[in-house]
């Protein structure tokens, strides 16, 4: 199993600003995943973050909007840049082990 801590747990942001979400895992993992869950919707994969290489983004998500860092095997950050109200969502980081995904509690962002 894996225990994942995310910060912040929630935040209210102004339009046009950027916010960085941190994800810390209690064990070393090769891949970390960032998901978005918009209000009333299911989870959508934003990108896969490998240590030592650039993140791989899914269709509809770009690095300029969602830059990701992965400095080591236990930590990653996701930045939501130039935010608009449409970015209001829960952002979740997850790691996989033995075919199972473990999720953090999520970071709930509200953009005004």
């Amino acid at each position: 199993s894996a225990v994942i801590s995310q910060k912040p747990s929630r935040d209210i942001c102004q339009r046009g600003t950027s916010l960085t979400i941190q994800c810390q895992v209690d064990s070393q993992v090769t891949m970390m995943f960032w998901y978005r869950q918009q209000p009333g919707q299911s989870l959508t994969l934003i990108a896969t973050a490998n240590q030592g290489s650039e993140a791989t983004y899914e269709s509809g998500f770009v690095i300029d909007k969602f830059p990701i860092s992965r400095p080591n095997l236990t930590f990653s950050t996701l930045t939501v840049s130039n935010m608009s109200p449409e970015d209001s969502s829960i952002y979740l980081c997850s790691v996989g082990a033995d075919g199972e995904l473990f999720f953090g509690e999520g970071s709930r962002l509200t953009v005004l």
């Binding site: 299911s42 989870l43 994969l45 996989g96 075919g99 995904l101 473990f102 999720f103 509690e105």
Partner: protein
């Protein structure tokens, strides 16, 4: 494009009955299928994984079936309890990357 559909309406059942949730998918050949539970304000929690060569998997009061011909999975909770009330997500995966595609989720409400 790949599509995963779950019961769109909330499912309300009486305590003690069996809850049955449906997950249908199209344009995809998953190697495995997973079910997650998500409580309000929390990240999803893994429940069960079933592989393409398995028909059925059980864990305590939970049972999952996987029909790759019908492209459908059924998730059963027997002897349901109010504490089982939550949103249940199905997710499909292939390969060893732990990269999952999630369904829209079904909200289950168990009435005492």
């Amino acid at each position: 494009s790949q599509k995963i559909e779950q019961n769109s309406e909330a499912l309300n059942i009486q305590e003690g009955k069996t809850a049955t949730l449906t997950c249908n998918y199209t344009n995809y050949s998953p190697a495995y299928l997973q079910w997650y539970r998500q409580d309000p304000g929390r990240g999803p929690v893994f429940l069960l994984l079933i592989r393409e060569n398995e028909k059925e998997k059980r864990k305590e009061r939970l049972k999952v079936t996987f029909d790759t011909t019908l492209k459908q999975s059924l998730f059963h909770i027997t002897a349901s309890q109010p504490a089982d009330s939550a949103t249940y997500l199905c997710a499909l995966g292939s390969g060893a990357t732990n990269k999952l595609i999630f369904g829209t989720g079904t909200l289950l409400a168990v009435q005492p």
